[in-house]
């Protein structure tokens, strides 16, 4: 059957996701937040999710709605501090001991996701040696310098935002929209992209920024920017 990754509803886009799923969510600084998919996931009212996301508290992402809704048991991220004086939904639950946090240096987070999609189960990095974030982790010396062992991250579902798709799932991104999304799509069993437009014509090969082989479902969704 001719490949066609386009789906017409968010229900189809998120089909199969269940309690306890590990979910990656793209986005950085206002670019690439899949807010339509995040809202659709929230409406599924699941329990015990683990989120892998750069920021647990970014004001332009709806990630906090999943957390506030009590659906999340663990967050793996590089930023977990709200902007406001009042506690963010994440900080409130974290303080109450109701949510687990793994804080990683941003580049270690990105590389762990990349490794997860690239068949590398763990890697040594010089980043974080001798800091609170690598306590208890194995250290080895390479080229006279200490490095810490970090493990790859994989997920059941990746939700990402891109600019365009074609029926084959090939994606393009606007400006800094790709950020974590490309690696996340490679590291998840099911990768879903919400996009501005799905073109009828195949994307020219030299414009494709993420090959469609990594993308399972694409859905058109106007970008929600809070």
């Amino acid at each position: 059957m001719a490949i066609n990754k386009r789906v017409g509803s968010v229900e189809e886009a998120l089909a199969g996701v269940s309690d306890g799923a590990v979910v990656m969510i793209s986005g950085f600084g206002g670019a690439g937040f899949p807010n339509t998919l995040i809202r659709a996931l929230r409406d599924r009212a699941l329990k015990g999710l683990t989120l892998i996301v750069n920021s647990a508290t970014h004001r332009l992402s709806f990630t906090h709605e999943l957390i506030d809704g009590g659906m999340v048991q663990k967050v793996i991220c590089s930023a977990a501090r709200g902007r406001d004086k009042d506690l963010s939904p994440f900080e409130k639950l974290w303080k109450e001991g109701k949510i687990e946090l793994v804080c990683l240096p941003q580049g270690t987070l990105a590389e762990a996701i990349r490794a997860g999609g690239a068949g590398i189960p763990a890697f040594f990095t010089p980043v974080g040696v001798g800091t609170d974030l690598t306590k208890g982790k194995e250290v080895r010396v390479f080229n006279g310098r200490e490095h810490v062992l970090e493990h790859a991250l994989t997920a059941d579902l990746a939700m990402i935002r891109a600019d365009t798709a074609d029926r084959y799932g090939n994606l393009t991104f606007r400006y800094a929209q790709a950020n974590f999304g490309t690696a996340m799509a490679t590291a998840a069993k099911v990768a879903v992209a919400e996009v501005r437009v799905i073109n009828d014509e195949p994307t020219p090969h030299d414009k494709v920024q993420l090959p469609g082989i990594y993308v399972d479902r694409v859905i058109v969704a106007p970008e929600i920017k809070p």
Partner: protein
Amino acid sequence: MKLNRSQMVWRAAQDIGDGWLVNLGIGLPVAVADHIPQGIDVFFHSENGVVGVGPLASGNAADTDLVDAGSRTITLRAGASIVDSAWSFSMIRGGHIDVTILGAFEVAANGDLANWDMKIPNKGPLVGGAMDLAAAAKSVWIVMEHNTRSGGSRIVKQCTLPLTAQRCVKRIYTDLAVMEIGPEGVIVHEIVDGLSREELQKRTGAPLTFAPGCKTINAPALAEVAG
């Protein structure tokens, strides 16, 4: 006598080399970009993958898909490119950033840096790319006020706040002095006009040595930057 914040970032900008790839930290360091000397052509890197950050975008030009690591809407310079996060941090760890200029809460005499977590009660941790940059840029320079608001020294014998990276800082630009971290500790290269070496030492929480050519900082009058 003291440099204002514009003069501090101006002074750091004078030491940037032609053709460098430069990463500027959130807050005061990003203002370094406003003071690059004429004839010096550099690319600014941002952790979210922008290689070639241009001036800030405003009005209709502001586009939230085009932001820097501080979520500020930006423009691109000629020759710019954009990669994803994994590639951007490969660029950092791979030693392709010539210098990163960061803020700091504390710098120790051995170059240890604490700039990521003030341990604010109840607030969650926020590390972002601080550790990656501090551990892996070719050179780490710090721009910060010499003293805290209560008069304590930000340059210390040993950091008390959580470390960002060990033995990484090469230079420190403060409102009082330009310093280098050498094998034996803090070496002063320049000092503001009217401040004695003894007074600088009194305001500094680690022993200072003075470079043979130690001189007065010669900064132009500049309006104070905000923030």
